[in-house]
């Protein structure tokens, strides 16, 4: 075996634990840094399942079909070789989890059971009750614990990643982090660093994400020179229970089982939804696309609901529409018990918070930000016959040597839109591939942590200490919690579902203003022990920098693709825009380059199969002349060009 090396993994969710486990398996030392105890990571919130074309039902399913669904789902913005690798690897990953003791649901014969999910016609999703993410994390935590006992893995829970350590050659040689209890900042030299820090939903406020999903660690790497890929691609889930500070997800399976989306024809209708007769209801999805109806893809349904409410046609004119399963138990062959069996966990959440049983009462829902397709730009290398060369050190590697990324925090697998039950998969296959990349990197590495000049690590630590001290000494008047609310409002209103060039450019101005104001925060807690307000201010500053890249990417992409729909340019434009947005941080704002073409070496781009797209939805709901009246025909010169 080669010499033992030391890696640092930031993030203790599925991707992070998978990477750590694989690196430890290969004999190296790993330090895991996590804001929260690893079992509280956002991976636990994934409910649905994990895709893998195991084809136990003999439906003719194959990794190739899985690959194809993922690419069409992503609207052809995902590079194809890594996606192919993910699909090919999926069955083995599911069996690996089975061996680790994940209690996947079984069929009567005792073999793995698979269910159907959005974006495919095959039974391809393995699941463990309604808590698949939690059960997977449980199993990986168990594995990591073994290496912890042997001393190979060390966990730093309750530590916040504050910066990378870069040497003079620009290589990543470790990181600095802050203990959120003692507030002490320390440096941790390492031979390689793997980011596995999840998405940035919190930036948008209306999000199903956990509060730790600020994207701040990605932003830190980006500000230290890492490229940021496709920042404008943000998935919005159509059905969430609206909440004050975060939204609770209602799974896609509700629509899958026959849930219908509707609003009263008269928005001033004061009747209880249950009393509104069939004739006075507007089934908006079904009217727009009679074939797919309520089972249109996530981005389209979100858009329909948004437009309906924007026109003031939501229930009682507000931001809510109905997701209705109250008709289901009257159906032939359906009983209340059967519905509870299939959707129990999901319906319980609604019952708990909204005080109505969805089996009898239509649920009130609204879209919310759900997943970050964009993220740290990572590389891949093709080998034999154009397939991914899994032994390359370039796989999952950012443009900073020694810095890798896996899971939701990188941009590679989901293109412009993610399919259901692919997230857990990409965390695991991505984590595995990242560990292989790191191993290859170790082999060719001449230096090690021992010969890193201590001054490099000390400088990085001092820099972070001084940044923190500046925040603690700040004597301004701004309330950071208030600034976050403003940031969220700006992002949701201008960069959410409804994107207009002029609003985006406006948002850019607001962000610049917020940057300045975030430096003028009042110190609301001067405590040196377990201080929550000061690290929050720091996170807020990082969130603003990241938001600038999201806005710039949206301004620049003059087309509509997947989750990115811009009214000024409502059509997909494959001639010009089969390209990755790559953002580089500068003090003046993000610089974008579009040199990288999407690798379409397996299948050529083709159109989506739905009867409607966002453009036709607007004309149907808002009126034929909406575009003429509201959208300037000529788009102004975009940023970064």
């Amino acid at each position: 075996m080669a010499a033992q090396r030391k890696a640092a993994v930031v993030g203790g969710g599925l991707a992070g634990l998978m990477t750590a486990m694989k690196l430890a398996e290969a004999g190296h030392k790993v330090q895991i840094f996590s804001l929260v105890p690893v079992k509280r990571s956002h991976s636990v919130c994934a409910q649905g399942g994990i895709n893998g074309a195991v084809n136990l039902r003999g439906e003719g399913d194959s990794p190739y079909l899985h690959f194809e669904d993922t690419i069409t789902g992503g609207d052809f913005l995902n590079h194809q070789p890594p996606v192919m690798r993910m699909a090919e690897r999926a069955p083995a990953i599911i069996y690996l989890l089975d061996r680790m003791g994940v209690p996947f649901n079984r069929t009567a014969e005792g073999v793995l059971a698979f269910r159907r999910f959005g974006g495919t016609l095959k039974h391809r999703t393995a699941y463990a009750g309604a808590t698949t993410g939690q059960q997977l994390l449980y199993a990986l935590d168990e594995q990591v614990r073994r290496y912890e006992a042997s001393g190979q893995i060390e966990k730093f829970e309750g530590w916040e990643f504050t910066s990378l350590i870069k040497d003079e050659q620009g290589r990543c040689r470790g990181l600095t982090a802050q203990d959120l209890r003692t507030m002490k900042i320390e440096s941790f030299p390492a031979d390689a660093v793997v980011m596995a820090t999840g998405g940035n939903g919190v930036v948008f406020g209306r999000s199903t994400n956990s509060i730790i999903n600020t994207g701040s660690p990605v932003s830190i790497c980006y500000q230290q020179g890492a490229h940021y890929g496709n920042p404008e691609m943000i998935q919005i889930h159509p059905t969430a229970i609206p909440g004050e500070d975060k939204c609770r997800l209602m799974s896609e399976s509700v629509r899958g089982e026959g849930g219908r989306v509707w609003v009263p024809k008269d928005p001033t209708d004061e009747r209880k939804p249950f009393d509104i007769p069939e004739g006075d209801r507007w089934y908006v999805c079904e009217e727009l696309d009679p074939v797919y109806g309520n089972l249109l893809s996530r981005d389209i349904v979100s858009f329909i609901i948004y437009c309906t409410c924007r026109m003031g046609r939501g229930y009682k004119g507000g931001q809510q529409v109905f997701l209705d399963i109250s008709h289901l138990h009257h159906k032939k062959g359906m009983t209340r018990e059967l519905i509870t069996d299939k959707l129990g966990g999901v319906l319980d959440i609604y019952k708990k918070f909204m005080r109505e049983d969805p089996i009898d009462h239509p649920m009130r829902i609204y879209p919310a930000v759900h997943y970050t397709m964009g993220g740290l730009w990572v590389d891949f290398e093709k080998g034999h016959e154009g397939a991914l060369d899994i032994e390359s050190h370039r796989n999952q590697a950012t443009n900073i040597p020694g810095l890798y990324a896996a899971g939701e925090c990188e941009y590679q697998y989901h293109g412009a839109n993610r399919l259901g039950a692919n997230a857990l998969l990409s965390c695991l296959t991505g984590g595995e591939l990242a560990s292989q990349g790191v191993l290859a990197y170790f082999q060719n590495m001449e230096v090690s942590t021992e010969d890193l000049a201590s001054s490099v690590a000390d400088d990085a630590q001092l820099e972070q200490q001084s940044r923190y001290d500046t925040i603690m000494r700040s004597d301004g008047t701004e309330n950071p919690y208030g600034l976050l609310a403003e940031l969220q409002e700006t992002m949701w209103n201008n960069v959410g579902i409804w994107r207009l060039q002029k609003d985006l450019i406006g948002a850019q101005g607001t962000l610049d203003e917020l940057t300045e104001r975030s430096k003028q925060c009042a110190v609301i807690d001067a405590g040196a022990w377990s201080n929550q307000a000061a690290p929050f201010t720091r996170t807020l500053q990082h969130m603003i920098e990241m938001s600038k890249a999201v806005v710039a990417g949206a301004i620049n992409r003059n087309e509509s693709r997947g989750a990115h729909f811009k009214l000024d340019t409502p059509q997909r434009d494959d001639d010009q825009w089969l390209r990755t947005t790559r953002a580089t941080w500068t003090e003046k704002g993000p610089e974008l380059d579009l040199d990288e073409k999407v690798d379409c070496s397996y299948i050529a781009p083709r159109a989506r199969k739905y009867k409607v797209n966002q453009h036709s939805i607007v004309t149907k709901i808002m009126g034929d002349d909406f575009f003429e009246k509201n959208v300037a025909p000529q788009v102004g010169d975009a940023a970064g060009k």
């Binding site: 105890p37 061996r99 003791g101 079984r106 014969e109 005792g110 956990s210 909440g243």
Partner: protein, 247 residues
């Protein structure tokens, strides 16, 4: 709706007191919403831990009107609001600050439990056949979100401070999840009996009552484990049988 009185514990392990706050409660708010509102209105330095706000991460455990609960899953309107609401940190763990406690005792203890050890695969392709009923038994235990409310309410830890000898309901569930896994072959019963003192549990079922995931901790985990230990160590016929076998 109305201005409601909240009494919240403020302070460190050394000193502290209950502090009164007033805040407006509206339809549908949970206790965590109220705490956030108090943070933004009058106590920005109030420390509380939360993350998913969907009852999945297990971070926001506290004692609300004396009852161990998740703040994000407790609706204000379910509480007798006119009498005011008290929020205190969990009492069975060392206090860090305000509502935040140090639950690392549980993680330390967890490391001592023997790991999952699967049997050889049944089929040539390296996979196993498992009955759905066996899967469901384990899935129930693995629903645990490690909020540690059960540990907090357990009198062996809370009243008698047996943290060194007794691993508590959460870790009995954990042991059961490993032990009743259809593939597992390891023996953890001796540890449970001797080192982990499962005998201290006198099945008062307080842990089952507070579990936010509705795991039947006592009935499905602790009692079957106790029964297995009895079978192994105290069944006279089995003992004879084992003696006979040894010769």
């Amino acid at each position: 709706m109305a201005q409601i009185n909240f009494r919240i514990w403020r302070g460190s392990a050394e000193e502290g007191e209950m502090v009164e706050y007033k805040t407006e409660i509206t339809e549908g708010m949970v206790v965590l919403d109220a705490v956030h509102q108090i943070q933004s209105e009058s106590a920005p330095d109030l420390a509380c831990r939360w993350n998913c706000k969907a009852g999945k991460c297990g971070s926001c455990s506290a004692e609300i009107n004396g009852m161990p609960r998740l703040m994000c899953m407790t609706r204000c309107q379910d509480l007798p609001l006119e009498e005011g609401v008290t929020i205190e940190p969990m009492k069975s763990f060392p206090l860090i600050r305000d509502l935040v406690t140090d639950v690392s005792f549980n993680y330390r203890k967890k490391k001592t439990i023997k790991k999952f050890t699967p049997r050889e695969p049944d089929a040539e392709d390296g996979t196993w056949r498992i009955d759905q009923a066996d899967v469901e038994r384990v899935q129930e235990f693995r629903k645990c979100i490690e909020c540690f409310l059960c540990q907090n309410v357990c009198h062996v830890l809370r009243e008698h401070d047996k943290h060194e000898e007794f691993i508590g309901p959460r870790l009995f569930v954990y042991t059961a999840a490993l032990d009743m896994h259809p593939l597992d072959t390891e023996n953890r019963l001796d540890d449970l009996k001797e080192r982990d003192s499962i005998g201290y549990c006198n099945i008062t079922k307080c842990c089952t009552v507070v579990c936010p995931e509705h795991i039947k901790i006592t009935d499905n985990a602790i009692i079957p484990l106790k029964e297995q230990i009895v079978d192994r160590h105290y069944d006279p016929i089995a003992k004879l049988f084992r003696l006979g076998k040894r010769k």
